[in-house]
């Protein structure tokens, strides 16, 4: 944990019903930096993200934001916190019945008393930031997956948040579009001093943008550090993850099939 941390996770446990999915997560998220949370599929990255943005309630004392206990937030306090954040969901989460411009304008229309023309100007600026200004009157279904994500990013930035949460920004994107989105994230940190938390399992993207990396494995914290520290880690599981290797203790496909055929042959009495 660090003194300059904006978010302080102190022994967070998380459950879905009786199934525990996060075990004693302890980590600090520094201000004005990009923190990447990564790990294999199913390791608890998105669950941790949902706790950080308040979609999953946290037990008291386990999650602090600016030294305030998020587990004790009432609805009014939580609403105040959410006005400080922007969230880009994996699919973009655009509202299908609205145009791109109307989607981006939703927070402005609800939380401000700006005129329609001013809202239109701000919306155009935000869409220009993500390279979509000419698509302002298009419906989301008319956009590609990457464009929908960029439109979702524009909506998450429209209220100039202090903290930006991004869930799997490069999933479903081609490498060039994914790289463009990564560079956009870097620009947001450099130009606006934003604190950005990114959840991803794409190693190349993670190492390209991260100031701090958090590696999870089966709901447990495996490692925390700068990209250089993570690369130099002597932990076998971290090394396996970085080399994109399967667990050597797992049998390969051939051995699995041979074992399965052998078991079934024994059952029917065939030698």
């Amino acid at each position: 944990m660090c003194d300059s941390c904006l978010i302080d996770v102190r022994g967070l446990d998380s459950y879905y019903g009786n199934r525990q999915v996060l075990f004693d997560i302890r980590v600090g998220i520094p201000r004005n930096r990009i923190t990447v949370i990564m790990g294999m599929s199913g390791c608890g990255k998105t669950t941790l993200l949902r706790h950080l943005i308040g979609l999953k309630p946290s037990p008291p004392g386990q999650l602090l934001v600016d030294n305030e206990d998020m587990g004790q937030f009432d609805p009014a306090r939580m609403s105040k916190f959410r006005r400080r954040i922007g969230v880009l969901f994996q699919s973009g989460a655009l509202f299908n019945s609205m145009t791109v411009g109307e989607n981006v304008a939703v927070p402005l229309k609800v939380h401000t008393r700006l005129s329609q023309s001013t809202i239109r100007i701000i919306t155009t600026i935000k869409l220009h930031q993500v390279g979509l200004s000419e698509f302002i009157d298009y419906m989301p279904s008319q956009l590609s997956g990457g464009m929908q994500k960029r439109a979702g990013l524009a909506r998450s930035l429209v209220m100039d948040p202090e903290i930006l949460f991004v869930d799997e920004p490069s999933s479903g994107l081609d490498p060039i579009t994914a790289a463009g989105l990564d560079n956009l994230i870097l620009e947001l940190r450099d130009a606006l001093g934003m604190t950005i938390i990114v959840v991803t399992h794409e190693l190349d993207s993670a190492f390209h943008i991260a100031d701090q990396m958090i590696v999870l494995d089966a709901g447990r914290l495996l490692s925390v550090g700068t990209p250089q520290e993570i690369r130099a880690s002597r932990d076998e599981r971290v090394a396996q993850f970085l080399k994109r290797q399967a667990d050597p203790k797992q049998e390969d496909n051939d051995a699995y099939i041979k074992r399965l055929v052998g078991e079934r042959s024994r059952k029917v009495g065939v030698q």
Binding site: Y16, G17, I53, G54, L55, S79, K80, R82, R83, I85, G86, V87, F89, Q90, S91, A93, L94, F95, N96, V106, P107, K109, V110, H111, G152, R155, M159
Partner: protein
């Protein structure tokens, strides 16, 4: 044996928990009416969706129901030599009972299922989560306009249903069986009282609340219990919403009728 008792306990706990969650959802739905954002334009859009677009199906249902009532009513009344009361029979049946119930069932099947599916897709696509993360109350933004629109549209649709149904009975009674038009309309006028219209209106308002409450609840919580968010969950939620709404309308109809009669 213990396993069966455990299973029964789990089902009971789940049922009680669901009822409790529906109650909490109902309170959030009502509270959402008084919370921002503004509701005028979204409510008007929903009135168009729930009300205006249901006119054809309600009109068709009402016309055929009125005509069938005319046929069956004339058959029954002719046994007592009381064909002249056909107008009263058709009008009272529609205004007190069939108008609100058929309107409620048709709106459930058309608009209720669509709303459930729309909200279910929003749930699985994380759009409802996105609203929460933008500090926008989803109940105020999505559900309250639908409730207000339903409270306005359903009584009007019920009145429309009643008028078309009475006309359907007129077509059969006067056109088919040769009743005098004046006799038919006079029996309607003399038999229908404000109490009957009041009962029909109260029923339509109750059904409006039920349809929106149940259909939007099922859509809003699509996949949440199963922990799985996919098209199958949307389909299951829509089916359950329509079935539960329909049963609730019929139960509520009996309760309101027994109280107001």
């Amino acid at each position: 044996m213990l396993q069966h008792i455990r299973a029964l306990g789990a089902v009971t706990m789940y049922g009680v928990g669901s009822v409790g969650r529906m109650g909490i959802y109902f309170s959030h739905m009502l509270r959402g009416i008084f919370r921002p954002p503004g509701k005028l334009w979204p409510t008007v859009k929903q009135i168009e969706f729930i009300g205006a677009r249901s006119l054809f199906v309600i009109g068709f249902t009402a016309l055929s129901t009125g005509m069938v009532l005319g046929l069956q009513g004339h058959y029954t009344l002719s046994k007592f030599g009381s064909e002249s009361l056909l107008g009263a029979a058709v009008a009272l049946s529609l205004i007190r009972e069939l108008g609100p119930v058929l309107t409620g069932l048709m709106v459930t099947g058309r608009a209720g299922s669509a709303m459930c599916a729309e909200l279910g897709i929003m749930r699985i696509d994380e759009q409802i989560d996105a609203l929460e993360c933008m500090a926008i109350d989803p109940h105020a933004y999505l559900i309250a306009p639908r409730l207000l629109a339903s409270l306005i549209a359903l009584p009007l649709l019920t009145a429309f249903c009643d008028v078309i149904g009475i006309f359907g009975g007129y077509l059969v009674g006067v056109g088919l069986f040769g009743l005098t038009p004046g006799v038919y309309m006079d029996s309607v006028q003399t038999s229908v009282e404000w109490q009957d219209v009041y009962m029909g209106t109260v029923k339509s308002l109750c059904f409006a609340v039920l349809v929106i409450w149940i259909c939007t609840y099922k859509g809003y919580y699509t996949g949440v219990d199963e922990g799985s968010f996919g098209p199958e969950q949307v389909s299951q939620a829509t089916t359950k919403a329509v079935v539960l709404s329909s049963i609730s309308i019929l139960l509520c109809d009996y309760i309101v009728t027994s109280i107001m009669t």
